[in-house]
């Protein structure tokens, strides 16, 4: 997740730095970050925590250009919200399914219990009727 957010962040910074990659290239030349040395931010997802690297990158951006930093954070915030909203919608169906199954099982058990009670009452009534009939005879 953190790695994804970092990757997303880097992409956004690149996009913000060079709005509309192709058209920007036509208008203002190549992506300025292409020539930059980003090796400092390279990391191994198996060993490093993406968010730590991302934070270092952000701090560096802030030190160079606070307004670009603020714009980048703002853009990432919207992206994260969209990502979380999509995740919420995706997970909602599982939560609904789990709750539905749970209550179907519980209601089914209670219904079976109630049906058995009715059967027991019917058997009791039948026995009573038989005894009365036998006593009358």
């Amino acid at each position: 997740m953190r790695g994804r957010i970092f990757a997303l962040f880097v992409v956004l910074v690149v996009l913000l730095a060079a709005p509309g990659a192709a058209s920007a290239e036509d208008a203002v030349g190549p992506n300025p970050l292409q020539a930059a040395d980003l090796s400092k931010y390279g990391y191994d997802p198996a060993k490093d925590v993406g968010a730590v690297v991302g934070k270092r990158f952000l701090e560096d951006v802030r030190a160079v250009d606070p307004r670009l930093y603020a714009a980048a954070v703002d853009a990432v915030r919207y992206e994260i919200q969209a990502d979380e909203a999509a995740k919420f919608v995706r997970q909602r169906k599982y939560v609904i399914a789990a709750y539905a199954v749970l209550f179907v099982i519980l209601v089914g058990f209670v219904a079976a219990l109630w049906a058995r009670s009715r059967k027991l009452q019917a058997e009791l009534d039948a026995l009573e009727a038989r005894i009365r009939k036998s006593a009358a005879a």
């Binding site: 789990a98 199954v101 026995l127």
Partner: protein
Amino acid sequence: MRKALFIAAAVAAAVGFVALPYWVFFRAELAHELYFNQKIFYYHVPAAFMMFLAVFVCGGASIGFLATRKPSWDDVASSAGDLAVLFGAIVLTTGPIWGKAAWGFYWDWDARLTTSLLLWMIFVAYTLVRRYGGPGSERLAAGLALFGVVDVPLVYFAVNFWKTQHPTNRVVPTLQGGMREAFLWGVLAYLGLFLVLLWARVSQVRGQRRLAAVEDLALDTGVLE
């Protein structure tokens, strides 16, 4: 006293099941990584606790029955066996749904899941023996219940003994704030429900037993032919 306990349990179940969704959806914080899917936890884990409780009640009553041969113990054991199947079914359906959302697949043959399934199958076998085993099946079923009790520590500690996909036992003790309170509401609701259902089922089983006894008595004394 028994009636007061029953009413207390019924109130706990009713209040618990009304309050639980509020706590789960409005008070419990969203979990990191598991996110909204974690809401299943508040119903899944208390159901697992009740499954264990039902197994212990069934096992304890089975020991009582085997030691004394009193039918009253057998009635409790039989009723608790049904509840072990009920709560086990809830655990084994809500768990895989949670797994699909969290792991991307419904089932994994890891130790926790497999021993849980085994425990549930033991109690399904228990109820089948009770229903279709004929005379004397109570003792066989009691032995089966004790076999099931032995499986409970295996289920619980499976996450410690083996490397499993399932979360560890550290999750519940480390719950904080609204998550902890929502979980406790879940336990209260399920415990109330467990006691109400156990009471209802035991009453029913005893009713059936007495009905059969009265029928036999009526036939033996010539009141009925």
